[in-house]
């Protein structure tokens, strides 16, 4: 049986008291130091501690990855011959992808290989290795690959300062679940000594609070609906399965975008900027727009380092569709070593390819139909979520069949349905407000006591409404 490699514990979560203590100490120390080298050293130490609290041994893997690619990139830059440059690039890719493959895909690949070698006389079941999946390996592997490839393409110079490079990879706000940072965006920020800018700290605090509310108040609450239903979908009726699937779509968004908001906010408090990762994806009017708004740092990475090198849209419709499918298939596999994730990637690749080649009548684009387009895009996304969330292909098919063929079974109680409805309404209204109102302008114009009061009330609410069962972020397992 293929099993998902478990994440060992959760480490220091952003929404924990321990993290707040770590952050407070790091923040005070960072801004009280006058040397940039010491400040960055403080951040690196905090990052190492942050990761080591989850697993002290796997910090060495992270450090090895950083040192290896730092050295390789320097080698690529120094190399005179194109052949040597390419060889070093291939070596780096092999090591990075080899480590990712070993930790993430060993058991999956064994499961694929076994049926092939079985006719050769192998009678046993495929072995299952209990391999700990290093937190954030998918994220930092992509970051290090983009660095080496950019140096190889001469888009950026190789970094001279090891401390800077290690911090690029290990900076604790984005270390475990992104956003996937580009070296060209991040490394230059480490060059100059900054002075404490309270407006950035305030912005960071607001983003952190927004993420905290998304995670603790919405995502973790909705998990209480999603988890039991997806644990035994055969016992639930069509209504409950639709509700759980919609709930999971909202949970995943609030969990992951909440993490990203917190990460971006934390970086701001240190005077650093991380890229935006979400831009109201559930208000997208088609699947292509959706992928420009969802997990932006991954979508753009896949576009720049996979889709375009594959040929992008340069080789005609068929080749474009092939490239889209391949990119999304690998994007699905990046999320997890399992058939459900492959299927999820294939599903989205197909949707994107259809969107690309299928000419829609002009009336479909009428502005009055915008809400309908948003709804259709959201439902298509939700259907894909079934593969993303189900524990197995069998469970996914049970969920889908029960969603589409009205089936009796346990349903949500009226009180649970009411609370769920209120949460959905809050998310919809908040998204619409963010889309159509100038919230930043409102915050800027608000009197100081109102702005401070909003922050305080938000923080108190986040504490009060956090459920007991709140845990790790969903994307930690990727």
């Amino acid at each position: 049986m293929l099993e998902w490699p478990a994440v060992e514990g959760a480490g220091v979560l952003f929404h924990s008291i321990e993290f707040l203590q770590l952050f407070a100490v790091t923040f005070v120390l960072y801004w009280s130091l006058k040397s940039q080298r010491l400040r960055l050293g403080t951040l690196l130490l905090a990052s190492v501690y942050f990761y080591a609290r989850w697993n002290p041994w796997l910090v060495f893997l992270l450090i090895f990855t950083a040192l290896f690619d730092f050295w390789i990139a320097r080698g690529i830059e120094r190399a005179q011959s194109q052949r040597l440059r390419r060889a070093l690039l291939v070596l780096s890719l092999c090591v990075s992808l080899g480590l990712l493959g070993f930790f993430k895909y060993t058991n999956f690949l064994l499961g694929l290989v076994w049926p092939v070698i079985r006719p050769l006389g192998v009678t046993s079941d495929p072995p299952f290795f209990k391999i700990i999946l290093p937190l954030g390996i998918s994220f930092y592997t992509f970051e290090t690959i983009s660095y080496v490839v950019d140096v190889y393409r001469r888009r950026i110079p190789a970094e001279r300062n090891l401390l800077h490079y290690m911090l690029f990879l290990m900076f604790f706000p984005h270390l475990i679940a992104g956003p996937i940072v580009r070296p060209g965006d991040f490394l230059p920020q480490l060059e100059r000594l900054r002075s404490l800018d309270w407006s950035r700290v305030e912005l960071g605090a607001r983003l952190f609070l927004l993420g905290l509310l998304k995670k603790a108040v919405i995502a973790d609450q909705l998990a209480q609906v999603v988890d039991p239903i997806y644990a035994a979908p055969a016992g639930f009726g069509s209504g409950a399965l639709w509700a759980a699937t919609v709930a999971y779509a909202i949970q995943l968004y609030c969990d992951f975008s909440g993490y990203s908001d917190m990460a971006i906010g934390l970086a701001h408090t240190f005077g650093l900027k991380l890229p935006m990762n979400f831009n109201l994806p559930y208000l997208s009017q088609n699947v292509a727009e959706f992928w420009r708004r969802w997990h932006i740092s991954l979508s753009t990475w896949l576009r720049d380092y996979l889709y375009i090198p594959l040929g992008g849209n340069r080789g005609g419709r068929l080749a474009t569709c092939r490239n889209i499918l391949l990119t999304m298939l690998l994007g699905g596999l990046w999320h997890g070593a399992g058939w459900t994730f492959l299927c999820w990637g294939l599903y989205h690749g197909t949707l994107l390819a259809i969107h690309r080649v299928l000419p829609l009548p002009r009336w479909v684009g009428h502005s009055a139909l915008a809400p309908l387009r948003v709804a259709v895009t959201f439902v298509l996304w939700c259907l894909g979520m079934v593969f993303f969330r189900a524990r197995s292909f069998g469970d996914a098919s049970v969920v889908l069949s029960r969603m589409f063929v009205p089936t009796r079974g346990a349903e949500l109680s009226p009180s649970v349905a009411l609370v769920f409805g209120v949460i959905v309404l809050v998310v919809v209204l908040a998204s619409l407000a963010a889309r159509f109102m100038d919230l930043e302008g409102i915050a800027r114009r608000a009197p100081v006591p109102v702005a401070a009061g909003a922050l305080a009330v938000g923080f108190l609410l986040a504490q009060l409404l956090a459920p007991d069962t709140g845990g790790a972020f969903i994307y930690f397992q990727f």
Partner: protein, 353 residues
């Protein structure tokens, strides 16, 4: 949300400072508000126990105060049956009032409340053991959580810091987070979660397989917990504050003409072995003094049950509860209540009706 940093650092600093002050004040206000909450908000177990004491008919003659050890060990039905078998007719009404994490602080609280509500038993049996009298009091954080108000926190500050300073900080500095379940339950009228979905009834073989974890009982292990207690008992010293509380309980009982009996519940052999001379000598000296000063006899049941009667080092299993309850009936309640025919125990206690 795509936002650009804006440039008015002075305003931002003011906003952040004011927000921090507001959060601090909000937390403080919530903490004070919680201090005034009904007992059922922070300590529902005590509210239930007191309600039981108030409504029991006939009113309790003998009450038992203590911790989870007493809770596991006292089976009122077994005591009733044992007493009926040997005496028939009118037997004393027994009421167990132990609470999880119960110590002398919670006992004093329950005793005060019980008396204030007009419940006046003839005998109060109080659990004692070195584990309840040592310093730092290891169950104090439980009382901090559910009983203490700011003035109690101030009174117990050194012990609280010694016992668990992080619990002290979270309970008092961020009560909105620490007591979120209690606060929501109080405000809404029923405790969270509000989105729980019960597991459906599935036909055999349709579920995820295996029993629900809660349905699987862990096997008894009378050595479980010994290590933790060994660490705690390593530098044993009697807590003066705990002794003071115990003395207040005994004095109050004496004043109210309630006979007080101190009972050490049974523990497994591994746990008993931790009570070396450095623990036992001061402990027994204290109990002897209390016995003299307050006429509170001490019954030691510590070594009365074999290890097979325990589910961990200090809590009895079902078999242990039956045996201990029978022991209580025969060696403690019968002589006290019906007169000591053999003349072997605590005749000094005037409890017979």
């Amino acid at each position: 949300m795509h936002v650009q940093p804006r440039s008015n650092p002075q305003r931002s600093a003011k906003i952040l400072l004011l927000a921090v002050i507001l959060v601090f004040c909000g937390e403080l206000a919530l903490g004070v508000y919680l201090d005034t909450a009904p007992l059922s908000v922070r300590f529902p177990e005590a509210a239930a126990v007191l309600e039981h004491a108030r409504t029991q008919n006939p009113p309790p003659d003998i009450v038992f105060f203590g911790s989870s050890r007493f809770m596991a060990a006292i089976a009122p039905a077994e005591i009733d049956q044992a007493l009926r078998t040997s005496h028939g007719g009118r037997i004393p009404a027994v009421l167990p009032m132990p609470v999880l994490g119960g110590d002398f602080v919670s006992t004093e609280f329950l005793l005060d409340r019980m008396l204030a509500e007009g419940v006046r038993p003839r005998i109060a049996v109080i659990e004692v053991s070195p584990d309840l009298l040592g310093r730092p009091p290891h169950l104090l954080s439980a009382q901090l959580e559910r009983l203490f108000r700011w003035r109690d926190v101030w009174h117990w500050l050194p012990e609280l810091f010694e016992a668990d300073w992080s619990a002290l900080l979270t309970a008092r500095v961020i009560p909105a987070y620490h007591y979120r379940k209690e606060l929501l339950g109080w405000l809404v009228g029923r405790p969270p979660p509000y989105l729980s979905v019960p597991a459906p009834e599935l036909p055999a073989g349709a579920g995820p397989g295996g029993e629900h974890p809660s349905a699987i009982e862990t096997p008894d292990d009378p050595t479980h917990g010994v290590e933790r207690w060994a660490r705690w008992l390593r530098r044993f010293r009697i807590s003066e504050r705990c002794t003071e509380v115990l003395e207040r309980i005994l004095a109050r009982c004496q004043k109210e003409q309630i006979a007080c009996i101190l009972v050490e519940p049974p523990v497994a052999s591994g746990h008993r072995a931790l009570y070396g001379a450095d623990v036992a000598t001061p402990y027994h000296a204290l109990l002897a003094r209390l016995g003299r000063d307050y006429r509170a006899p001490f019954f030691d049941f510590g070594a009365r049950l074999p290890d097979t009667s325990f589910r961990d080092d200090s809590h009895v299993n079902r078999t242990g509860a039956i045996r201990f309850s029978a022991l209580l009936a025969s060696s403690l309640i019968e002589p006290l209540w019906f007169g000591d025919e053999k003349g072997t125990a605590t005749t000094a206690v005037p409890v017979a009706p």
